[in-house]
Subunit: 303 residues, 2 copies
């Protein structure tokens, strides 16, 4: 879908560390085109961002100026241009707070949404604030907790149209490192995770969080000594790490109804884990929330 | 030190996943030669072990047969030849339990010491059993707890000349993955760790183990927001992970006097952590324990 839809009125860019995803949006809000590449922030020098963007959206540009609204690590200090964090409590996005990125092509006007920071405990996010803004646009008046599971899971409290606080857990990154690079990699294979093993490890991590450090290598030992299946091993590692996250974030979800934002399979895993604690949840797709969040910025753009 | 000491009577080999270390020992127990290479088990096919060994010890061999006693991952299923685990409770080494490795060079007779296994909770070790045997030889009648900090830290209970149980924590591997490959790598640099930061993170992890998952990313956030130094960041990560290990192994060290076996700097870190809990410890060097352990096998070798 990189044809030339002449009526693209603005472009939404989700620009993370590893990937760039763009949507060409019409004046009526319809998605007219989409494209993606692996030219994430992590692999680009500052002057390489504009060419990377043009490779994807060049065919969508008309004669005039097309605004591009971008969220994510593109606004980090090591990104295209730094969009300084906004400190919570504050609305997740503020139209006046956009940072203009330097461009050469006269057809482009690129605006980057800044991330959020929290002084105590120290925490930061970039990209998730846009998804939270999108979820709030989809749920006007929302008051409660949002969880964005992923490489760095975020838990955010939303009240009176503001993010009042948030908490990051490195659960996805820990899982990837342990599953792919630690000695446990020999015991895990494929992408299938056994539900019963997940549930048991989750419950154990939540009820005895102090023992987690003693429960990781046992996955390897059981596969050596008693043939633990790769699916069971994967379920256990996932359950144990998500259990650690839920143990650390108990005040965030206890007695709450949680809105999950992310990929469908990962949100289903978190929904299962929360349901086991008696916590209901609802899932919103990450891409839809990013687009809805960036859309809220459009009316405030300088003309 | 790979000269030709003609009087080498036997060779001790510490053959792990990443390294091979050999000592040429005289009839009186004196170390006459030593050598090392990075030809660890992880990088060798079964028929590559003998050549790797000969590259180091070839110059030490005389006309007759020189026995080589080896400990470590060399005896794993993916190693030179499998030396099946012995199940605890049992003495850490048993002369009758050695496995002969296939060799072509008539000057070599290679014997591999098997590791230990534990059925419940499932656990395994390879190499550490030899250090434990060495420490027991240095402390006849020892009754208590030994801790071997490292990539995979081992805690072992020793009583009546047997290992009665043990527990592995992946603390060293977790630290290496997080310090070198996770997002925290941007905040850590060098090898220096700040003691006060270590102590604080250790105490926090021990008193609130359920919050550890929420305390890792904050290292990165604080370095972004308030310029946390690399030394403080390193101290915090180390303190938090060793704190997780001590939280999980509390029944092993509480009210005990612990014998630490390992590298001097790592043992000093664990000694500091244990001392903060009121637990005295004594440190024995790993290489000396391996040699002392393998020495106990010599009298039982087939002639």
């Amino acid at each position: 879908m990189t044809d030339k839809p002449n009526s693209v009125s603005w472009i939404a860019a989700d620009w993370g560390t590893s990937n760039l995803r763009v949507h060409g949006v019409g004046a009526d809000g319809a998605i007219l085109a989409e494209a993606a590449s692996d030219e994430g922030m992590g692999s680009l020098a500052p002057d390489a961002f504009e060419p990377a963007l043009l490779r994807l959206v060049g065919p969508w540009l008309g004669a005039g100026v097309t605004p591009v609204l971008a969220a994510g690590m593109v606004g980090a200090r090591q990104g295209w241009t730094e969009a300084a964090y906004r400190a919570v409590p504050c609305p997740p996005l503020a139209p006046g707070g956009l940072t203009r990125a330097p461009t050469r092509d006269p057809r482009l006007a690129v605006w980057i949404a800044p991330g959020l920071s929290q002084a105590r405990p120290a925490d930061v996010m970039r990209g998730e604030e846009t998804q939270i803004a999108g979820a709030m646009a989809l749920h006007p008046g929302f008051d409660g907790v949002m969880c964005l599971p992923g490489t760095h899971s975020k838990w955010a409290r939303v009240s009176a149209d503001e993010v009042t606080g948030f908490q990051t857990c490195m659960t996805g990154e820990l899982f990837a490192l342990l599953a792919r690079q630690s000695v446990l990699r020999h015991s895990l294979a494929g992408e299938v995770s056994d539900d019963a093993s997940f549930d048991e490890a989750l419950s154990d991590a939540l009820s005895r969080p102090e023992r987690v450090a003693a429960r990781l290598f046992s996955i390897r030992a059981e596969s050596l000594l008693s043939g633990l299946s790769p699916e069971a091993a994967r379920g256990r590692l996932s359950g144990r790490l998500i259990g650690m996250e839920l143990a650390a974030t108990r005040p965030w979800w206890l007695g709450q109804r949680v809105v999950l934002i992310g990929s469908a399979p990962l949100c289903a895993t978190y929904a299962r884990a929360l349901a086991a604690q008696g916590v209901p949840s609802e899932t919103l797709p990450a891409a839809g929330c990013t687009l809805a969040g960036l859309s809220t910025l459009l009316p405030g753009l300088p003309r």
